[in-house]
Symmetry: C2
Subunit: 340 residues, 2 copies
């Protein structure tokens, strides 16, 4: 695996990937976190748990921490006020080279704040972005930003496009990823002020830019990389997840309402399970926070054991492919705009 250029990247080590896991992050912490970590460890991933004294880790390494950041705390303040929290300590382990990536199912804002403070931005990166793999029907694609930047500028979106394209190449294994801009019509003149300006910027830069994508095609497969501001992306991601769940639940309710339906339900169970599994957000389990000098993976707040195990595997894949290092070396050569 080639190493990155001159920029020092935390966690771009060799050998087994070491993932620093916040045992206190998420609604089902610590039990589901520890259980998921144990599952991932069985794949040969080295998991280091960060949590309170006395946490039962079933043999996994524990770094003892003294505080916890709650979901409702103000992120930047909490990260500064609680340097001994599990979330912050896990970041510091990556910054110090004791781990290759950090993972938490906790407060997303705190992840962003801790990443900016302790891992810091890659040179030239304007804003980090959260990139999430979408289980699209025509194959996985990546949607970004899904929430790091509620308000974004056109040049931010251009850089998200570059970062997303590198992610698609390195992690999804796509040779020349097609990039599209999420908007309200395929024509270049459809959109709001942000997307109209971003469209022009994207079209003028050396990307595989194929124009606007419409949200109706997101699950079928709109493009390899779909770019948007963090507000729009967060709305889209949660709508996708919520709609999948509501429809499958509604279908189950309709089917079990009659005995004929119940019998049919038994027969289609394997098919329904295949679909549910493919669409389940737990299949990826997490999203990358791209643009930092170290790898950060954010898992769902309500992550189950399976979601955590898969998110740790996603983090390990990012370490194996040296995603942060590739971003550091490839963003400048792609002619991405630089921070001023």
């Amino acid at each position: 695996m080639p190493r990155s250029g001159p920029t020092r990247i935390a966690g771009a080590g060799q050998g087994r990937p070491r993932i620093a896991v916040d045992a206190l992050g998420g609604d089902r912490a610590p039990n589901e976190i520890v259980a998921g970590a144990l599952d991932a460890a069985e794949d040969g991933i080295e998991v280091i748990l960060f949590g309170p004294v006395g946490l039962e880790t079933h043999g996994l390494e524990l770094v003892e921490t003294t505080a916890e950041i709650e979901m409702d705390e103000k992120p930047a303040e909490a990260v500064r006020a609680k340097p001994g929290s599990s979330l912050v300590e896990a970041h510091r382990a990556v910054a110090a080279g004791r781990a290759d990536a950090v993972l938490s199912a906790g407060n997303t804002g705190a992840m962003l704040a801790a990443g900016l403070l302790h891992l810091r931005r890659l040179p030239g990166v304007l804003r980090p972005a959260i990139a999430v793999p979408i289980p699209a029907q025509r194959g996985p694609s990546v949607l970004l930003d899904v929430g790091a930047n509620a308000d974004a500028r056109p040049d931010h979106l251009l850089q998200f496009a570059h970062m997303g394209a590198i992610f698609a190449e390195e992690i999804l294994g796509l040779a020349r990823p097609e990039v599209r801009l999420l908007s309200i019509g395929e024509e270049p003149e459809k959109g709001n002020q942000l997307t109209l300006e971003a469209h022009a910027l994207l079209a003028a830069n050396g990307l595989g830019f194929a124009g606007n994508a419409e949200s109706r095609d997101l699950l079928a497969g709109a493009a390899d990389v779909v770019v948007c501001d963090g507000f729009t992306g967060n709305i889209a991601l949660k709508l996708l997840e919520g709609t999948i769940k509501t429809i499958l639940d509604s279908l189950r309710a309709e089917i079990t309402a009659t005995s004929r339906g119940k019998l049919g339900g038994l027969l289609i169970r394997p098919a329904a399970r295949r679909l549910r599994m493919r669409l389940d957000p737990d299949t990826y389990g997490g999203a990358y926070l791209l643009g930092l000098r170290g790898l950060s993976v954010i898992a769902h707040g309500n992550s189950s054991r399976r979601a955590i195990a898969n998110a740790i595997r996603l983090a390990a894949r990012g370490v194996d492919h040296d995603v942060a290092g590739r971003l550091a070396s490839r963003l400048p050569e792609r002619g991405s705009p630089a921070a001023v």
Copy 2:
């Protein structure tokens, strides 16, 4: 049915609702439009078709027009350049009192431009908004704006909330509709600049405002009225429709992949059909353009006969309930901000 206040509202007539239908609007015009119009006419709705000389209307009244506005034309220019088009003539019929509401499956931008030019805004209305009924699991709700204003201000969103609440009362029959703001978290401090400011405005005004709604709850039922800017609403609506279609199609493909699944599929067919019917956008068929001195209903571009028939029924319901007149009389009494 009480009439509106002093503002003259086009189309708030008595007797059978008369709906002016653009026979040339939409991908499947004119055949599906005429077929849908015939179905709606059987319910006692008076349909007036606007289309070219010689159009076969099977006995429905035809107003002969001389031009057509295409989907890819620049809306405002096309509406001005083609006063004899079916879309514009249908609007003028409402403005002149020869019809009570206008309906088209054509260019949404042209509908907005023709509405502003020929029906004009209600006094005090800052911006019209497109309001669409959502077939939520806990009962119908209304989402607005879904595309009239790609960029919106906080005071626009406040007025959309008032218009949506009146719509929910008059058309959905809800006594004290709960209003929520679509954002990226339930907490008031979650959102982008627009929603943060709009949240404060909504909370300070005499609405049934219950805070932010998350997109994940939209299909299950987030609130009676869900308010957002037109870009976000359009993204959300199309994502909802596309995801429903993709999941049901994927499920069918999974089920028919095995003979066991095929048998099960036969047994669950009535249940699946009930669900598909409930979630089908054709069940409403259209969206209201609220805030004009006359009623305008926008149907899907790819409307089928069934969608058109239901959209005409939706328009007729709006006439029966004098939605435009209610908005005219009730917006000022609700203390909605006024246009300057």
